[in-house]
């Protein structure tokens, strides 16, 4: 293998598994250390820079970072990254002084943002400090998009949402609420220099089965139901509710139903439990509240009796997987199941819909009625129109919408300046030794063997009475500290200096997870097999040195390194050093001209 090029900014970035997995590449270990030090405000600001909504995300994020956490590979449970974010948000002091302070000198450019969800709000935040005049349109009475209309208050209190939405709106954003944009042509005819479409994926799917016409008034679409509850247009529901669907929307619908007075709530899912789309923790939370989840039951018909809706019929199926892992649901032949119900809520998916965009503007649409976009720049076929969030590639989540927003903001800024959109700003990186003394590090390199701490929950009785009572209580400072100590500091990199190594083997001997091998060089696949501990996880890189005096190379498998620093402590010549790698995705308001071309 060739010696590893550690100057490639992505090499060490990939070692920071959580940050790499985060769509917005939030510097996770950096903020976790700050939490451990009690520096909540600083930890909050690191988050705010990257993901814009730390308080919201600390409660609701889909947490793609957690399955990626190294702790999963060396222990079992990931660090509670998401809930630690909340610890920062809950305990911070006044953060406003650390945010860009308006009014910002105008650059005489005007931008329209259609839709007031996290994608548009991120664009607003990233562009306002540069002097853009920003006009935000949303059909609802306040901003936040689905964070407000869909995510229930028992998961995300309104105060938390309002606070973080207002940090952005207070930057001098011109809001046009209660304003549904019904014509793109009209927007284009105004004097906007660029337009960003962040309208989400607003259409919930219908389910037309036998009996639908008659039962119709007892059948609601999940996302409409949740929005109506959020704006207090719906305040009650029947006693027996069937929720169809196995995703997170279904979980929010069933838990909301319970709070609106339903006694029996069934979530009925076509597929096996293991295939459900909902996050495991959302399923746990629903079950904890006494909700029944029934699997392998595709719906067959809405059932009426004497002109009255009485429930639904379901077929029994069994999942069969072919050699390619493709699933087929095969009827088992058992008698259909009847479930009694007063109401049915459909949570079987969302579609994108752009009825307000005329199709003769030069803005092309492709598969699934999605706009044709450049994956990196988010530019549509109409150069001044950009898309992001769920509107771009279909329904995802808040953090993805934020990540899109950052990149779209960069594109819009480049576009308005007349520069090439392909010239993206390079990430800001920084590699600094953590050595303080002979064997002293600026980070706590002790490896805590504590198991993941559980977030305390409100009593069911209290929580189910009022849909605005937050269920999760969050970690207190003390548990937050202990959980933070579980972090392995994967951003503190083991950096090897070939010219210093005397090949004494001390690092090999001390490494608790057998990461290091001195051996003859070879092809990657073959080399992986003959390391001290075979490096079977190919998604993780091998760090290979230059040729050493004994004609061997040092090979380090990054897979299960604990970043404990013992190799560097035991190295007599400081050939290993522990260096903190900071990787920051450059935002539009942080550009310094340096860039990478894609």
């Amino acid at each position: 293998m060739k010696p590893t090029d550690i100057n490639d900014p992505e090499y060490f970035h990939k070692v920071v598994d959580c940050q790499y997995a985060c769509p917005a590449h939030t510097p996770v270990p950096e903020y976790i250390r700050l939490i451990a030090q009690g520096k909540y405000t600083e930890a909050y600001m690191i988050n705010w820079e990257s993901n814009v909504f730390p308080g919201v995300l600390g409660r609701t994020c889909d947490r793609p970072c957690e399955p990626a956490c190294r702790r999963v590979r060396v222990e079992e449970e990931p660090v509670a990254i998401c809930r630690l974010k909340r610890v920062a948000a809950d305990n911070k002091s006044n953060v406003k002084p650390f945010m860009p302070q308006g009014p910002f000198p105008s650059n005489s450019k005007k931008i329209a943002l259609i839709g007031g969800g996290p994608a548009s709000l991120t664009v607003a935040r990233d562009l306002a400090p540069l002097g853009y005049e920003i006009h935000l349109y949303d059909e609802w009475e306040s901003g936040g998009g689905m964070m407000r209309t869909q995510i229930p208050s028992f998961r995300l209190p309104l105060e938390v949402l309002n606070e973080e939405v207002n940090y952005i709106l207070d930057m001098g954003i011109h809001t046009h609420f209660n304003h549904y944009v019904d014509s793109m042509a009209q927007i284009l005819s105004k004097d906007y220099d660029a337009i960003f479409v962040g309208t989400g994926a607003p259409r919930g799917r219908q389910l037309d089965l036998p009996g639908y016409k008659e039962a119709q008034q007892h059948v609601q679409i999940g996302i409409e139901f949740l929005a109506n509850v959020a704006f207090e247009h719906t305040e009650e529901i029947g006693k027996k509710v069937i929720v169809l669907g196995g995703g997170n929307t279904a979980m929010d619908c069933c838990r909301t139903s319970k709070r609106l007075g339903a006694d029996h709530v069934y979530v009925v899912v076509r597929s096996p439990k293991a295939d459900m789309k909902a996050s495991p923790w959302e399923i746990d939370d629903a079950e904890r509240e006494g909700i029944n989840i029934l699997n392998n039951l595709p719906p067959k018909a809405y059932v009426m009796e004497n002109g009255k809706f009485i429930g639904m019929h379901f077929e029994h199926v069994q999942a069969v997987y072919d050699d390619n892992g493709k699933r087929k649901l095969i009827p088992t032949g058992e008698e259909d199941l009847f479930i009694e119900a007063t109401d049915v809520i459909l949570a079987i998916g969302q579609d994108n819909a752009f009825p307000w965009i005329e199709r003769d503007l030069g803005l092309e649409f492709g598969k699934w009625n999605l706009p044709v976009l450049d994956r990196n720049t988010f530019q549509s076929t109409l150069p001044k129109v950009f898309f992001g969030g769920d509107a771009a590639f279909g329904p995802e989540n808040v953090i993805t919408a934020v990540a899109h927003g950052h990149q779209a903001a960069i594109s819009i800024d480049l576009f308005c300046k007349g520069e090439s959109l392909a010239k993206r700003p390079a990430p800001m990186t920084n590699l600094i030794s953590q050595k303080m003394g002979i064997h002293e590090w600026t980070y706590d390199n002790h490896i805590a063997d504590d198991l993941r701490y559980l977030v305390p929950h409100e009593d069911n009785e209290k929580a189910l009475k009022d849909r605005k009572v937050e269920v999760e209580l969050g970690f207190g400072k003390e548990t937050g500290f202990k959980e933070a100590m579980r972090c392995l500091n994967c951003d503190v990199q083991t950096v090897f200096a070939t010219n210093l190594c005397i090949e004494c083997d001390a690092c090999v001997d001390v490494c608790p997870t057998d990461c290091i091998t001195f051996t003859e060089n070879g092809e990657e696949l073959e080399l992986r097999e003959r390391l001290n501990a075979p490096a079977l996880n190919k998604s993780q890189d091998l760090y290979v040195s230059d040729i050493l005096p004994t004609a061997r190379v040092m090979v380090k498998d990054e897979d299960v390194c604990l970043h404990c620093g013992l190799c560097a402590e035991r190295c007599p010549t400081a050939a290993w050093d522990m260096k903190k790698y900071l990787y920051n995705v450059t935002k539009s308001y942080e550009q310094d001209g340096a860039g990478v071309t894609i």
Binding site: C504, D505, V508, D509, P512, A533, P549, L562, P572
Partner: protein, 350 residues
């Protein structure tokens, strides 16, 4: 500075035949200087015991004084141990071996501990063929007392302070051969592929098994002009053979060319396979061993490998014809069988 080892180990780490992970054979974090050769030897011992599935409670570690003699703290935390007085480990080993012949004894010593203050004890342990593995972590100096030349420092070797050693070295391997040790080897702390099988073989040898391990003192004897530095040893090392230890019941997997390999069966049925560098080499031939050793010394080489093995060695217990029950397990009735037994015995003299 870390004082506690992380509890996590490689997820693919396997248990050995007796149900232990390699980490179960480790000790506390070393307090020796970073890069000390002794730590590599500790690690080789861990590997060897794990790989031959030795139950840790069946082994006792014995040592004297010195950095080397401290190492038993850094491996086999679940074994017995006795850190004795400077140079006096052999007498403790002799006593312990007599009291409980069921344990496996591993003596760890330094070149100072063995070749200076402990020389008198060492030679008698060899001569008596005490049932033990005796490892000397040989760095050519007194590491613990800040690096004075030891009796194994080579003539002319330059110390860290710049002085040349005016005395000739005691070659512990030559001495052990001379004293009829039944297992004599030399290795290098930086060569685990040789050292680990050698330790495994030594653990299977009844009687005295001696291994001299060159082990650079990175702090006091790793300077230019030292003949025990990492770079000097690497430049002058010469292996007699590649050694492979095959435990009892396991099949020999490697095919060796005829005439270049020797297969030696140990008393417990395990085997040592030596693929030889020279076709004249026979580790059962002591005269040849001495000859090679002397020649290599003349040539300025550091010869390593298993030099000599006597597979029919007569151990201490055999020589003394001790009972198979460990002495510490004999009950009062065994030791004082009563007056009628005495009468019987006395009758045999009449």
């Amino acid at each position: 500075m870390s004082y506690i080892k992380p509890q996590f180990h490689h997820p693919e780490l396997k248990k050995n035949k007796v149900g232990y992970y390699k980490t179960d054979y480790e000790g506390v974090i070393s307090t020796l200087c970073a890069g000390c050769g002794h730590d590599s030897i500790s690690s080789a011992i861990v590997h060897a015991c794990y790989e031959i599935s030795l139950e840790p409670h069946r082994l006792a570690k014995l040592s004297g004084i010195g950095c080397s003699s401290k190492t038993p703290a850094y491996f086999l935390s679940n074994s017995h141990g006795f850190n004795s007085v400077h140079g006096r480990m052999p007498s403790v080993a002799t006593g312990a071996g007599l009291a409980n012949r069921d344990l496996i004894y591993m003596g760890i010593s330094g070149d100072g501990d063995t070749a200076s203050i402990g020389m008198g004890q060492f030679v008698h342990a060899v001569r008596r063929n005490i049932n033990m593995v005796y490892i000397v972590m040989n760095n050519g100096c007194y590491g613990l007392t800040k690096g004075q030349d030891s009796a194994t420092a080579d003539f002319g070797s330059i110390s860290k302070s710049g002085s040349e050693n005016p005395y000739t070295a005691i070659d512990l391997v030559g001495l052990a051969l001379e004293l009829n040790a039944g297992f004599v080897g030399r290795s290098f702390s930086g060569d685990k592929s040789q050292l680990v099988p050698m330790i495994k073989a030594a653990l299977s040898h009844p009687g005295f098994a001696f291994i001299d391990v060159i082990s650079p003192c990175v702090t006091f004897n790793n300077n230019q002009g030292s003949t025990k530095s990492y770079s000097y040893v690497r430049d002058h090392i010469e292996a007699t053979s590649v050694l492979d230890f095959v435990p009892f019941e396991e099949e020999i997997k490697v095919d060796y060319e005829d005439g270049t390999s020797a297969e030696l069966e140990l008393f417990n049925g395990s085997k040592i396979v030596l693929s030889k560098i020279s076709s004249h080499w026979d580790p059962r031939n002591k005269i040849l061993a001495k000859k090679y050793l002397n020649e290599s010394k003349e040539n300025g080489q550091i010869l390593t490998g298993l030099f000599y093995i006597d597979t029919e060695t007569e151990s201490f217990h055999k020589k003394l014809n001790t009972v198979t029950t460990p002495l510490n397990k004999l009950s009062k009735n065994d030791l004082c069988p009563g007056s009628s037994k005495l009468t019987d015995i006395n009758k045999t003299f009449m």
